[in-house]
């Protein structure tokens, strides 16, 4: 593994770009608000990107219009990210950069809308006849068109672990040698399927989510887009961060409930440590999956206790952003990289009374500490787990 990260960005309920993340963490300001998503009357809180309704796609991308693609477009504009993609294209060419995107529900919000406007024969009206939008690869298609990249392109959809797994796929592609870099990322946007679906599983909190708190009663759904450039290290001498390891596993337990002893979570973390060649004690900070569901937080804290010394600092940032599903892995990777850059480790917003049942101490308050090595976890439905380890370069 010799892969560098040469650019990254994220847009979420906290705002557009990484400065909003830092500002919100420093000020303990959550991006969650009382549900005001059009057409949805559920009593819950959401992490909504407020400007999406007025975000317009440029003319040449208008045929790909959907809330999800608007969020993708908005996200790509931030932090000079597109400029770093174009700079890399100038150096290595459009066909040596792969596109690996992630999503849980892609543009299904647009499909829901089309079903509300079916014509008399029960078919999509012309406006909604967008074959490149109503499918799971819509994020990959949009990013390739927006950047002009022509390398291999796919979209991973493994529920809430999707945009952690893009790092594993991108690493294999680069190591195998058919690309030198991968533009990777994850996008999920608010839609009725997700809000009413999680409601049917009784997993939505009625207030802002409280990860690891004893009063936690479920998740808050958020939307986000995040991207990073993963590049062969010899092509990126100035890079600040590197990917040190990844681990992927399955729970083999239940479609929507984590393994009670965290078997899959432990395997994923062990594998990423093994690939990085690091002992657990060298991980200085862990950004947890920490959804604030009763089960996830209990199981994740147990899994941590099996692997890490209790002085390891670990927190969930979903109190700021909500659970952004297929975008959670990349959003929380960006939050983790920013924590390493600024030496400011986020606490766990809304965790006022950590659950005494937990087997591992959770970092509740923001903490100033320079660190060099951090882990990020994402676990999803179907018992799909991924864990990543990042390191700082060039100090």
């Amino acid at each position: 593994m010799s892969l560098a990260i040469t650019g990254y960005t994220a847009t979420s309920g906290l705002g557009c770009g990484v400065e909003c993340i830092q500002g919100s963490i420093l000020g303990n300001r959550s991006g969650l608000r009382k549900n005001d998503f059009p057409g949805c009357d559920l009593e819950t809180w959401i992490g909504r990107v407020g400007v999406l309704e007025t975000t317009l796609l440029p003319r040449h991308l208008e045929h790909l219009d959907s809330r999800n693609n608007r969020l993708t477009w908005l996200g790509l504009q931030q932090d000079g990210f597109l400029a770093s993609v174009f700079e890399l294209i100038d150096r290595i060419g459009v066909d040596r950069i792969g596109v690996v995107m992630a999503t849980s529900t892609s543009s299904i919000g647009r499909t829901e809308e089309a079903y509300m406007h079916l014509d008399d024969s029960g078919l999509f009206p012309a406006k909604y006849c967008q074959p490149e939008v109503h499918n799971l690869h819509s994020p990959g298609i949009f990013v390739a068109e927006a950047t002009g990249l022509t390398g291999p392109s796919l979209t991973i959809s493994t529920a809430c672990s999707s945009s952690a797994k893009v790092f594993a796929t991108a690493s294999r592609w680069i190591n195998h040698g058919f690309v030198d870099a991968v533009l990777l990322g994850g996008i999920d946007s608010l839609c009725l399927s997700i809000l009413y679906g999680f409601n049917s599983l009784e997993l939505l909190s009625s207030g802002p989510c409280r990860p690891f708190d004893m009063r936690r009663d479920g998740i808050s759904i958020g939307e986000a887009a995040g991207f990073a450039l993963l590049v062969r290290k010899d092509l990126a001498p100035e890079a600040e961060f590197e990917l040190l390891g990844y681990g992927e596993s399955s729970d083999a337990y239940h479609m929507s409930h984590p393994h009670p002893e965290g078997k899959g979570a432990i395997l994923a973390m062990e594998q990423s440590l093994k690939r990085a060649g690091l002992p657990a004690s060298s991980i200085e900070y862990i950004n947890l999956h920490g959804t604030a569901s009763r089960a996830n937080d209990l199981v994740e804290s147990y899994a941590l206790s099996r692997l890490f010394p209790t002085q390891t600092l670990a927190s969930s940032t979903k109190g700021w952003t909500g659970h952004t599903l297929g975008a959670a892995g990349i959003l929380e990777t960006v939050i983790t990289l920013e924590s390493m850059k600024h030496g400011l480790l986020p606490g766990t917003l809304n965790c006022d009374h950590p659950d005494p049942e937990f087997k591992f101490p959770i970092l509740t308050e923001n903490t100033q500490k320079p660190i060099r090595t951090a882990m990020m976890n994402s676990f999803g439905f179907g018992g799909n787990n991924a864990s990543l380890i990042f390191g700082r370069l060039n100090d």
Binding site: P131, L136, S157, T158, F178, F198, G380
Partner: protein
């Protein structure tokens, strides 16, 4: 260029030259235990069937292989259900259908029923889904030292979605790819690579053209037909395929020494 080995499982496919529909070859009910079977949608049952076939042919324990599932559109029956229910209040969604709506439902059920903790993934690449899942699985097998199962699936589109995806014949096919040396069972050695070249999907058998027109899951059928014919008609002529990966690139797959499957690796 890596040389790997490959076996296959098919459903809604040909035996010899006969096109077998689902009613000719019903799914084996015993493959998914009753508790999961009650909840599993047809897409999952079909995929589990071909995954099981591929593992049986290779005498491989399912728990020892990673799995990559693919479908361009996902489970369109569930998408159709969700979108219809959500048109107007009360918008009551079935929790089982909702958790089955994740694109990785197949690999979830597969790992649960086979007690496999191996990595699983689920992808889409729209028009290029069949070639990209082969590439994704082959690269994983080459880089990770473990056998990788891949599924190429597309289900029939419900009425409203036919404008978007004209698929009307469900298909699931599976291949097990691995580095040479991991198996003793007879397998088909192959090479794969990427070329900068624009190409069309290879023609299907004339009997299959009509049913699989517009189906994103059928692209690898010519490759499976070549492997299947190698079982009965020994031939040393290599078979080479070019499958499009994008407008300007293609995946090349060359079967080696087809009459002598499993005997030679480079």
């Amino acid at each position: 260029m890596t040389l790997l080995a490959l076996v296959y499982g098919v459903h809604s496919f040909l035996t010899g030259r006969r096109f077998v529909t689902e009613s000719d070859a019903p799914l084996q009910p015993g493959l998914i235990p009753p508790r999961e079977r009650r909840r599993a949608p047809q897409s999952v049952k079909m995929a589990v069937e071909v995954l099981d076939q591929a593992c049986s042919m290779a005498a491989v324990s399912p728990a020892s292989a990673a799995t990559v599932f693919s479908s361009a559109m996902g489970d369109m029956q569930i998408t159709d259900y969700l979108c219809k229910v959500l048109v107007a209040p009360p918008r009551l969604v079935s929790p089982t259908r909702f958790h089955n709506s994740v694109h990785n439902a197949t690999t979830g059920y597969w790992s649960i029923t086979r007690n496999s903790h191996a990595p699983t993934s689920a992808i889409s690449a729209l028009n290029y889904t069949a070639s990209m899942v082969f590439l994704e699985a082959a690269v994983q097998a080459a880089e990770e030292d473990l056998p990788v199962l891949m599924v190429s699936q597309e289900m029939a589109a419900p009425a409203a979605l036919r404008t978007i995806c004209p698929s009307d014949t469900p298909i699931s096919l599976a291949l097990l790819l691995s580095k040479p040396g991991l198996f003793s069972a007879p397998l088909a050695p192959f090479r794969f690579g990427i070329q900068r070249k624009s190409t069309d999907w290879p023609a299907l058998h004339p009997d299959l053209d009509e049913p699989f027109k517009g189906n994103f899951g059928s692209g690898l059928l010519p490759l499976l037909a070549a492997i299947a014919s190698a079982d009965s008609v020994p031939s040393n002529a290599p078979a080479s395929f070019e499958f499009p990966l994008s407008k300007s690139a293609c995946l090349t797959v060359s079967l080696k020494n087809r009459g002598n499957i499993g005997a030679q690796y480079e």
